[in-house]
């Protein structure tokens, strides 16, 4: 493998984010984190958990999409990552469901 890590190659994917974009993303991330932490100080009632999950997903997507360039890179990478993520989510959810909901202790 060799001489491919040239700036031009990155340019091929076009619309490459600039340092300013990155800082903007980071500011958003910071605000979202502050929102998350606010659940500890203020009462959100039943909204708390859904809100935390939504915030977590947004932060995740921001980091992955911008900092890891998934939005700008080839689809192959997204597929690899989301396959792994989907496998993990589905398999472990089923496992937890089986352990929590459908065993003998739960039956009686």
């Amino acid at each position: 493998m060799s001489a491919t890590e040239t700036p031009q190659q990155e340019a091929e994917h076009g619309h490459h984010p600039t340092a300013r974009d990155y800082v903007n993303i980071a500011v958003i991330l910071g605000i979202l984190t502050a929102l998350e932490v606010s659940t500890y100080f203020f009462e959100f009632g039943p909204l708390g958990v859904p809100m935390l999950i939504v915030l977590m997903v947004i932060k995740f997507l921001l980091v992955v999409g911008w900092f890891m360039h998934l939005r700008f890179d080839t689809k192959v990478f997204s597929r690899l990552m989301y396959t792994g993520l989907a496998f993990a989510l589905v398999l472990y959810s089923i496992t937890l469901a089986a352990l929590y909901l459908d065993n003998f202790s739960a039956m009686t």
Partner: protein, 646 residues
Amino acid sequence: MSSTTATRPGRYQRPNPREGFISWITTTDHKRIGLMYFWTVLVFFFFGGVQSALIRTQLAQAEQSVLTEEIYNQVFTMHGITMVFLVVMPFAAAFFNYLIPLMIGARDVAFPRLNAFSYWVFLFAGIFLYSSFLLGGAPNGSWVGYAPLSTDAVSNMGFYAIGINALGISSLAASINFIVTILNMRAPGMTFMRMPVFIWMALVTSFLLLFAVPIISTALFMLMFDGVYGGQFFEPATGGDPILYQHLFWLFGHPEVYIMILPTMGIISETLPVFSRKPLFGYAAVVFAGAAIGFIGFGVWAHHMFTSAMGPVARSAFALATMFIAVPTGIKIFNWVFTMWGGKLRFTTSMLFSIGFVSMFTIGGLSGVTHAIVPHNAQQHDTYYVVAHFHYVLFGGALFGLIAGVYFWFPKVTGRLMNETLGKWHFWTWLLGFNLTFGPMHMSGLLGQPRRTAVLPAELGPTVELYNLLSGVGLIILFGSALVFLYNLLASTKKGELAGEDPWDARTLEWLTTSPPKAHNWDKIPTVTHRDEFWHRKYAEDEAGRPVAVPAGAAEDVGDPRGDNAEALDEHIHMPDASYWPFVMVLGLVPLMYGLNFASAPLIAIGLLWAIIGMYGWIIEPLAEGDDDDPLDAPNPSATTGAVTY
């Protein structure tokens, strides 16, 4: 491959021997690594076979005590571990290594040093596992290592948890390597739908490994933390749930069984067409079914836990998923059979083993479906009926196919043919011995013989005793048969009949190059225009679909279908140079493994440090001398003054 090799001042001398011991230690050639896998596997297979012989001796008659319970339990555990992790999986890795680059028209795998790393980890993890016999006894918690039994110190399962985890690292590295190789290094024109089915199955297997290995890794870490470091993951006393371990193990364990069978299915999909002189029936369906098996295979794990603490909903769901995995498998079976249909079958040894595979695997698969009948699984589970099932799919399936592959590609690797007469002896005795060993187990299981028992209870009755005796007789035949095979292998390597370039009238790319292939595989990378590229260079089809040999003087010159190859060397072929570092780095793993097992901080520290130093050596060393990954690599003054790591 450059003049700078010898002249770099201040750097250690890069190894570059072509033969001898050092050349094997340092090789990064995928073909040599494949061969090392193969021979190592044979040795472990012998160990696994000896262990099975001990098992069968102990069970030859009721209430015997040739072995104590203690020894018996170690023996059957090591038998399972050996056969699964040190025989079938690395056997497939041997084929992957040797064949993937050749079949896709590449010069090597994507990461040659990582490839060597995988092999050395495998070897040392295997040695580590076997060293347990000398260090207080081998693991004896069965190959599934259920907690909390396996967290008890008397089970010696620390070796298992750590050794298998190391093997997992090896597999994970190999799977990434193969995935990148297959996705990224195909010859020009080799689209996905032109890839040989073997390559497809290698790809699916690698993905299964990629996603399954991390799961077992977590399970084994937990086992290790509980067993050696006082963790509470599975300890019921504080509320730990032993069933969690079972889920994690089988989340890996079931994909694992397809990891063991898919490579074989790939091999069969190459041999059957060649010896039937027809293309594979329904290529797309076979490929798709293989991927479907891999995918569904992730959703059936709990069928190993039907009698565990699972409620009726989970039992039902997993029963359904399990049954439906028979559908894609059935597609493959029928496609293979119809590949033979209407062909001209040549019964070489390789073909016999391939047909044997289809037949034996069907038996094993059907008994697998009967396991999914949950109410009756409660009768079959953990009996010899299950033992029969999985030996039919593993031995009758995976091993038959792998052996078919050995006979098929032997001429590719050595340039010589294996002796067909001995081969036929091998096949028929193998088939007979196998069925005699494992056929009766179906019955002894249903008649009430549980597995993993060090004694055959007399109360099971004379019928069961007879079946067990038959199994023993079968094993004797198998051993004889294995010796025939071994002799054939060794003798044919030395003085087998010369094979020529294309002994089987084969179809795929690997036969395009010389046998054995040159270090760089191809003088010129071939351009692919068809599925079964090599065949299409030899034959064209007339309107009726009948193949005719390519005209125009092609027939007299074998070299001609290799048109590409006849030309002069590609400009300048860079092959990765040999390297000490993978081996050196893996040596660090040895103190690390023992350190973890005996909770010894100094050993762990030494191991980690060693491995890290090895890693730096690896990073600093260019892939090939003078072919550094940087075109600007001019002698840089700071390079020798600033670098401190070696």
